[in-house]
Symmetry: C2
Subunit: 157 residues, 2 copies
């Protein structure tokens, strides 16, 4: 069982952004879409943090920096980032979608503390393997999955 804390990337933020931009550019080209200043700025902002964030939260970061950016553009760019595989949409609560960048990070699941809201990420190979077995048994071809465990973290128990 492996548990990697947030904020320990294998490379610096600048490197991640540059590599991510290249991947994004390839995705855009493959879809006959264009790389624009807005998309570049959104990508950089998304890769500048390792925390989960909501769409409006991301929008606010631009507002705070006095960088003009409409909500619609944020939503549209996030859709593309998800489709490109750079970003994952996760449902931590039922109110709204959260996003996290995924590029160069191992797949992981989430534990969410009911009391303090803390989100713990974890990954576990035996768990994944067991899921695959269940899918094989039911002849289901899994494309993606998400496991959400809600409970109490060590501090809040």
């Amino acid at each position: 069982m492996r548990h990697r804390a947030r904020g320990t990337p294998g490379q610096g933020a600048a490197g991640r952004v540059a590599a991510g931009e290249e991947v994004f550019r390839r995705y855009l080209a493959s879809q006959k879409l264009k790389m624009t200043g807005e998309r570049r700025r959104i990508l950089a902002e998304v890769f500048s943090t390792t925390e989960h964030f909501g769409a409006d939260e991301l929008h606010l970061r631009f507002v705070d920096k006095r960088i003009p950016m409409s909500r619609a553009t944020i939503y549209r760019a996030l859709d593309h980032l998800v489709k490109s595989g750079l970003v994952r949409r996760v449902y931590l609560d039922q109110k709204r979608a959260f996003f996290e960048h995924v590029y160069g990070r191992k797949h992981h699941e989430h534990m969410i503390c009911l009391s303090c809201g803390k989100v713990i990420e974890f990954s576990d190979d035996p768990l994944e393997q067991r899921q695959d077995k269940v899918c094989r048994d039911l002849k289901f071809r899994p494309l993606r999955h998400s496991l959400r465990i809600v409970g109490l973290c060590q501090k809040c128990q």
Copy 2:
């Protein structure tokens, strides 16, 4: 690995409703809430099917039967049913909440076919045990969890 198809309850619908009503009544009393005609009718309707349903869908069933029932009442009753443990709120897609009654049924997870929308329920003890182990290792006390596997069912592959 166990896979139980929908629609094979251990007892008839009438028995399930009666037993469920008793549980619900106890929950209501414990919360100083009242058993009303609306709540009884909603409970009966919820237990009349083993399929997943949305709140508005449930509301429509009453409208169709010319039984007066407001949307607000449906939402409020569903909240209570969930708190009483009789009903589970599940997030099959990201648009809205679905509900399924849980009383007398084994805990299960969902596979969702991207192509035809079919929902397959399954349960697997080794999977549950492995989740528990991961929680123990991280000192997290799990209260509930949900695993959603999205992919293609046998027919759609």
